[in-house]
Amino acid sequence: MEHWQELLDLVLDWTFVPLGLALLLAAVVGSGVWRGVRWRRAVWVLGVGLCAGTLYLGLQRHELGEVLFNGQLL
């Protein structure tokens, strides 16, 4: 239960907005649920903007170097 509370707290954090929208857009268009997108170029520009915003947030949070091997593979 504590785990889900942590997840909820993260999702409710405003910084989740670009990541959440990017994932939603990718899931809706990418899964084929939304076929024949009429404003394809606008959707692409929106998607790039959301992903760029997400990347920018990650860099601001100094996530770049925090990806080292943690020795759990065996």
């Binding site: 084929g32 998607g47 997400t54 990347l55 920018y56 080292l68 065996l74």
Partner: protein, 275 residues
């Protein structure tokens, strides 16, 4: 040799060029490990210079944080070229394609198995690492076993002494995908790769796209024959299953375009092959 082979070999060697790691029996921990490569490439490999994006995402799940950097980075690549890194850069894709060249009977992978990769993505990369605080996809990843687990067990007595049941389960997955690659095209990519599943979500709206010309297509199914993912292009040229290897563009009915190109209208509904 196909042009993409040079990229595949170059990426395989370039991302794993720290040969000193084999001699020193220590992984590289310099600045390069802060960057993710856009492909499946184990960061525990003794010669790996960079991080695996899936390992990075799981790391953030384990520490209960959202992986903005890794997902934003993968999203931008996906928005640019869709699943193209799978077809042109991934070492494990190259491994499977080379195995498929071995003479044997060949089978087609049933289409219904393709959706399993989304379960792997959601379950093993996001949900289970979040709940268990352990990076379960990395623990089972056949690519990790091939370039990380096996070399370590070979060169290090200390690591050999740490081998437990899980290692043999990993070996089992690697053997399964290695053996099945001889008889089927890219079985891991088609059914189980979570990175491919993530990139594939961007195929329908990526900058780089394929364009299929209904007037020129004769439904000869040569595209499915040549395609490493067994796609019949007339059933959907920009589906999430396509790895953008561009091999099918040898056919004059299929060409490369961009989302910004004028006159590029949404694809028509899937057509049945001509009788």
């Amino acid at each position: 040799m196909k042009v993409r082979r040079y990229f595949q070999v170059g990426m395989s060697l370039g991302a794993n060029g720290y040969l000193k790691g084999f001699l020193a029996k220590a992984i590289y921990q310099g600045a390069g490990k802060g960057f993710c490569v856009p492909i499946l490439n184990c960061y525990a490999c003794p010669s790996a210079f960079f991080s695996c994006p899936l390992g990075s995402i799981q790391h953030f799940m384990v520490v209960r944080a959202l992986p903005y950097y890794a997902l934003g980075y993968l999203g931008l690549i996906g928005a640019a070229v869709g699943r193209m890194p799978c077809g042109t850069l991934c070492p494990f894709g190259l491994f499977q394609e080379l195995l498929y060249k071995l003479p044997s009977f060949k089978i087609r992978i049933p289409a219904y198995l393709r959706s399993f990769r989304f379960a792997v993505l959601v379950g093993l990369v996001f949900v289970i690492p979040w709940i268990t605080s352990e990076n379960w996809f990395s623990k089972l990843c056949p690519m990790g076993t091939l370039i990380g687990g096996l070399p370590w067990v070979t060169i290090s007595q200390e690591v050999r002494s740490m081998v437990r049941d899980l290692f043999w389960i990993k070996i089992g997955f690697l053997v399964f995908f290695t053996a099945s690659s001889v008889v089927a095209k890219r079985p891991f990519c088609q059914t189980s790769c979570p990175l491919g599943a993530l990139y594939g979500l961007f195929n329908r709206m990526s900058l780089l796209r394929l364009k299929w010309d209904a007037k020129t297509c004769t439904h000869c199914d040569k595209c499915a024959e040549i395609c490493p993912m067994e796609i019949k292009v007339y059933e959907g040229e920009n589906t999430g299953h396509c790895i953008r290897c561009l091999d099918c563009t040898a056919c004059e009915a299929i060409s490369v375009t961009t989302v910004l190109a004028k006159g590029d209208r949404p694809a028509p509904a899937a057509l049945e092959p001509a009788a």
